[in-house]
Amino acid sequence: MTTPSILSVRALTKSYGELEVLKGIDLDITPGEVIAIIGPSGSGKSTFIRCLNMMEVPTSGSFKFRGSHVLPEFKDKAGTLGAGTLRRKVGMCFQHFNLFPHLTVLDNVTKGPRVVLKESQVEAEAHARALLAKVGLADKENYYPSKLSGGQKQRVAIARSLAMRPDVMLFDEVTSALDPELVSEVLQVVRDLAEGGMTMVLVTHEMAFAADVADRVIFIDNGVIAEQGPPQEVMHSPQSERLQQFLQRFHA
């Protein structure tokens, strides 16, 4: 008996008008699994990860969270899961952080739990402070985002997602907009999460990091999963010519 998957995707496609970006993707993610998605730009990897919390609505295919069908409407309907409920359980961090500039660091983290989960201020703030300590920003809770470095902003954004107590975390190129010297502090937080058992999907260009932290690496090319497997296999003995070419550019 295999472990039931937490997210399950079958024949998922996404088109923008005539342009078919995702051409049928199947994927099962088991609890605690860390999946790194790699691939050339324009391959559809960002679109795919955004489908996993219904930020993009798939054109066709099925999408289940813990066995329940997920629908694009915000509210749940009989036997199905709405996008609103899904997003409480599946957190997402973005390339450009998207912190709320009008709120302090602490309020950035507490806003979701306060508004969506109706947590009390005391409860939300206690949890937020614990999370800020975890990402190494306990002393910055009263700062506004404009006063933080890129790496600090991304760590606040991670704390903000974790405040919802998600079951899955999605990271969409979270280090791509950072200065090189700030990348490692963010990757360290992601690594800690992986070691803590968080289920994660990350789209990344950090090949060494992907190889190190992921249980499975997925190579998306031209809207399909072209190759997947344990990092050692995928990274060190790529089968397809496309993946060989792609990896070569990073080793060069």
């Binding site: 997003r87 998207n98 709320f100 405040a163």
Partner: protein
């Protein structure tokens, strides 16, 4: 040398005072209704329904592209002929002023909302907020700051626009000044007092707008 005589004119001070209060009430009333109309228009124009967008757009263009004086006259003299009922001048005046300023507010509000990066909405949705919650807790608080200078500017213009109500005999400041002048034959004094009263009302407002804009620039 002109012989200034404020004394005669000041004997009609209660008329000026009444005019000033009336101007103030029409300003507050039309700005209040205008904000509601502007919000509805802005959200209609941002809606995904084409018909709603089109209706809001049409309303805005009609009111933005015709002179306010013509609108006031039309509402008071022409519309009753179409409807077959008479409309009291205060209703025609207040409604026209509100619809007029609402069409401009709509554009100001829409611009402020559009100026907020779409990543803000996405981040709010990503923690499970509904569209309405994202608007209320994340987008609007930021958009209001961006809107405020243009909003104050339009409101200053609105105070002055109430003077056009003199055309349908509403006893606001300009109309009352006209009355005082026709009784005293002292146009220089009468209209100078009116100008000073308008100025005293609006100068603090424009100063506040400037101050606010400077503060905003510093916090960016």
């Amino acid at each position: 040398m002109y012989n200034w005589d404020f004394y005669t004119v000041f004997q009609s001070f209660d008329l000026f005072w009444h005019g000033l209060l009336t101007t103030f009430l029409y300003t507050i009333g039309s700005i209040g209704f205008g904000i509601v109309i502007g919000l509805v228009t802005a959200f209609a124009r941002l809606s995904k329904w084409r018909l709603l967008r089109g209706a809001a757009r049409t309303y805005q263009e009609v009111f933005r592209c015709t002179p306010l004086l013509v609108q006031i006259m039309w509402a008071y003299y022409a519309l009753p002929m179409l409807l077959g009922i008479s409309i009291p001048n205060w209703i025609a005046g207040l409604a026209t002023l509100s619809l007029y300023v609402g069409s401009f507010y709509g554009e100001i509000f829409r611009g402020g909302i559009n100026a907020i990066d779409k990543g803000q909405r996405e981040a709010a949705m990503a923690v499970g907020m509904s569209g309405g919650q994202a608007m209320r807790h994340i987008i609007m608080p930021q958009a209001v700051k961006k809107m405020l200078p243009a909003f104050i500017n339009q409101s200053v213009i609105q105070v002055k626009n109430t003077s056009l109500l003199y055309a349908i005999s509403i006893a606001e400041l300009t109309y009352m000044t006209y009355i005082v002048n026709s009784e005293t034959y002292r146009p220089l004094e009468s209209y100078s007092i009116a100008a000073i009263m308008y100025f005293a009302m609006l100068f603090p407002l424009t100063q506040f707008a400037d101050y606010f804009e400077r503060r905003m620039r510093r916090s960016d």
